[in-house]
Symmetry: C2
Subunit: 143 residues, 2 copies
Amino acid sequence: MKISVDDLVCFDVHAASRAMDAAYRRVLAELGLTYPQYLVMMVLWEREPVTVKELGVRLRLDSGTLSPLLKRLEAASLVRRERSADDERSVLVRLTSKGSQLEERACDVPAQIFGAAGLAPAEVLDLQRTLRRVIAFLDESAR
Amino acid sequence: MKISVDDLVCFDVHAASRAMDAAYRRVLAELGLTYPQYLVMMVLWEREPVTVKELGVRLRLDSGTLSPLLKRLEAASLVRRERSADDERSVLVRLTSKGSQLEERACDVPAQIFGAAGLAPAEVLDLQRTLRRVIAFLDESAR
DNA sequence: GGCAACTCAATTGTGTGCAATTTAGTTGGT
DNA sequence: ACCAACTAAATTGCACACAATTGAGTTGCC
């Protein structure tokens, strides 16, 4: 029997990823953020300042993605960038006061998405564990 | 306790999706296909001709994504497009002989990816079931 | 001290994805 | 038969995402 698109888990992962993107888009629109921008802001709300390098490791994104994204966040006055004094190669990303204030308005976003996903907490943990195994294994395969 | 990026399943789904993209990219590079292009080809290998609309339903992509993608496949001589005679609004996508021949070279791609993902068959089915529930539920939430 | 190897960010080029609009073709109600 | 409402693709504009390159800065080794 021929393998069809529907047999590929990869397809479901891809489709799920885009469906969640869409869910976030609806919720984040009123904050003026995209989903990847929201992820960057979450890292900053947790710890600050952060270098572009650290953002990349944390979010698994490279400078080709982060540089223009940060430029947009800076244009929206949510973020500031400055060269590190310790190491002039690094760029430190900091929140502006407007960026800090956004945290309060964003705090119920995860709950909204969780509600829209329809999984029990145990299933979420299970899913998360499986996906992390896949990610780690694929990373390993890539060497 | 503040919610961090690492707590969001959404993040893992997103990251897993990109990690699989990367795995496919490595395998598909020698076929000259991207992952979404490969998905379109799979649908065509299974059934032909197919309208752009049907491709969109099957792969959950809209014409804004498919039109340029098909144009690239056509430029690579893998695919032909022609207006349907039944309904002049529709466009039928067909394989060229070069497109058909590619199937043979692509047939072991799923196995290669499966091998790189490191999940047992039962886990794959479980993951697939969970993701489909999430997709259906998110679709429902979006109305 | 000097230079090669390395690192960090930014840039360039290509390919998705999606919202919104446009163009062409079809259908249903009167 | 006509016109309004609908549908299918394509196009436009924007925002990721990644490979490859570039430029500036740092480090290690002699």
